[in-house]
């Protein structure tokens, strides 16, 4: 019997799409900032392309950073599917399913386990994604702090500049952008695969919040 279950609460969904949009904008503008591939031959006083790219990049960075903070907060106050326990396979139960799910992905098992929230392998990949967001946010805001000789930004993130130096920070910030691109490819495929194989509205679920339960448990 198909049962409708409200899995993804509004903050989780808003976080998801805020991150989709901000990462897309950040990757494009960030790539331009790292390697300005468009040169504007017009009158200098009439153009502000790099200026806009940076302004948009910084604006999107705040959406990205705040979205991350909201999601971390919601881990502790949201429903069971939003919990950090859905990301890290720490319980013996989740760990067992982690093995089964991984075997299924590697064509070593025929049966696809069913879950209402994240499957344990996907959950762990989101934990890794969280680390990527954290590092990207720290390196990004450290670079944002660079023009400030003192004040809030320098106090909050300047220590990273002292510790690692600008070149390393920019290198990591740039390299992680490509990891986000690779993550996007795999994430999109996995979502489509889950939607097709589990037929539980994995894709529409992140819009409506509702998934279908047609398995007896989990």
């Amino acid at each position: 019997m198909l049962r409708r279950v409200y899995v993804w609460e509004a903050p989780v969904r808003i976080f998801h799409w805020a991150h989709v949009a901000s990462i897309a904008v950040l990757a494009f503008t960030g790539y331009y900032i790292g390697n300005p591939f468009i040169t504007v031959p017009d009158e200098t006083a009439q153009t502000y392309l790099m200026g806009w790219m940076r302004a948009i990049h910084f604006g999107a960075a705040f959406v990205f950073g705040l979205g991350f903070l909201v999601r971390v907060y919601w881990m502790f106050v949201g429903n069971q599917y939003a919990s950090w326990r859905d990301w890290l396979p720490v319980s013996r139960d989740r760990w067992g399913f982690f093995g089964r799910q991984l075997k299924y992905y590697l064509f070593l098992a025929k049966e696809r386990p069913h879950y209402m929230g994240h499957n344990p392998v996907a959950g762990l990949s989101y934990a890794a994604f969280g680390v990527m967001v954290l590092v990207q946010g720290l390196t990004g805001f450290a670079l944002y702090a660079e023009p400030y000789a003192d004040g809030f930004w320098r106090a909050a993130f300047g220590w990273l500049l002292t510790l690692f130096g600008n070149q390393t920070l920019r290198w990591v910030h740039h390299a992680l952008m490509w990891l986000f691109a690779a993550f996007f490819v795999v994430h999109l495929y996995m979502a489509i695969l889950a939607d097709v194989e589990e037929r539980n509205a994995a894709i529409t679920g992140i819009v409506s919040g509702v998934k279908f339960n047609h398995a007896p448990d989990h």
Binding site: G34, K110, R154, W178, F183
Partner: protein
């Protein structure tokens, strides 16, 4: 950045014969008018209101002579060259000379034991300022830099004894500089790594801009204190602003107008050197405002990117000088981060495609076995 203000230091230098700077300068052909112009320039460099120029003039006229001992260790004498750069001596240089310099290995007349004796006499009296050029090697007991049978480290500690302040000029003395670049074969360090009980001022740059040294000394003589400094012990008047934020090419950066190749159309039009690896966005220094060689020009003005020479370990952290980003280690000489990143994404896409085919095959096989069972 924490603003580190050194407590005002008492000028206890009243000993010695009475000294009149203006008269001493006049003997060298510097008119009072030129002297006042110099004081105004110093007020500008120190970011003081122009009225302070008269206070500087009064202070310099009445100040007792502060002896200055200039030491050279692992260096190229480039900072000394910077001090002597002009085709004719400038007023600032003369002020520094008549006011201060007692001992300078490269330019003083005495040599050998005579020179050492004059240094010893100055140090014995105390109350002097020590200027250090070049880094200090520590490996193997510091034997990689010895002068008169003593290691650089010993000479440094001997000379700063009783000194009011130590001014580390150039990147080598401030942060270890080029001798400290990886793999740092002599374990070279900067002055502030060793000297802890005498205030240290860092005036990095490769070379030092002598305007900043003169201004630091003038600040000290006028106010009796060292200037406010940043977390790297660099005076804020000279290192408080980013090159990028004061650069005359900045409008081209904001507009999106970049030099792509040396000598191209953009280069001839004076566009931004960002894509040529300019490190102006990472570097704090007053080059765009005070410039070099009596305000003639500075690297970016002449069409070359900034190398970041006033930042710690610039030889390691600002390279490659002519690229925005370092290469990816372990991927060969020409592997840029974008090539590797694009490759990674392509591998992910290929893996996904292969997995999709595998999943389709599995589904078909499962369907076939189900049909069989039926």
């Amino acid at each position: 950045m924490t603003r580190e203000q050194i407590d005002p230091l008492e000028l206890s230098l009243t000993g010695g014969e009475p000294f009149n700077l203006v008269e001493a300068l006049a003997r060298r052909g510097v008119s009072r008018r030129e002297f006042l112009k110099f004081c105004t320039i110093m007020a500008g460099v120190l970011a003081l209101p122009v009225e302070k120029a008269s206070r500087i003039a009064r202070a310099l006229e009445n100040t007792p002579r502060v002896p200055l001992v200039w030491l050279e260790f692992q260096d190229c004498a480039g900072c000394t060259e910077s001090l002597l750069r002009a085709s004719r001596p400038t007023v600032g240089e003369l002020v520094l000379d008549v006011l201060s310099v007692d001992y300078h290995e490269t330019i003083m007349a005495p040599a050998g034991e005579q020179a050492e004796a004059s240094k010893a006499a100055t140090v014995e009296k105390g109350g002097h300022i020590v200027v250090v050029e070049g880094s200090i090697p520590l490996k193997d007991g510091g034997l990689y830099c010895c002068i008169g049978g003593k290691t650089a480290k010993d000479i440094l500690f001997e000379t700063v004894e009783g000194a009011i302040a130590v001014i580390a000029v150039g990147n080598c003395a401030a942060f270890g500089g080029i001798p400290a670049a990886s793999p740092n074969p002599t374990e070279a360090v900067g002055v502030a790594d060793l000297v802890k009980d005498v205030p240290v001022v860092n005036l990095p740059g490769c070379p030092l801009n002598v305007v900043n040294l003169t201004a630091t000394v003038v600040h000290f003589l006028t106010f009796g204190s060292l200037p406010a400094m940043d977390h790297l012990k660099r005076p804020l008047f000279a290192y408080g602003k980013r090159i990028h934020d004061n650069c005359e090419r900045r409008p081209h950066f904001d507009a999106g107008q970049f030099v792509e190749e040396w000598g191209d159309e953009g280069h001839r039009l004076g566009w931004c050197l960002y894509k040529m690896g300019c490190k102006g966005p990472e570097t704090y220094h007053n080059c765009p405002t005070v410039r070099w060689n009596e305000g003639t020009s500075w690297p970016v003005m002449s069409g070359h990117g900034c190398l970041g020479c006033s930042e710690p370990n610039f030889w390691d952290t600002m390279t490659p000088f002519y690229q925005r980003l370092p290469e990816v280690p372990g991927f060969g000489v020409e592997a840029t981060i974008d090539k590797v990143g694009l490759g990674l994404t392509a591998v992910a896409a290929a893996g996904v495609a292969a997995h999709a085919i595998g999943s389709a095959v599995r589904k078909k096989a499962a369907g076939a076995s189900q049909e069989k069972e039926e």
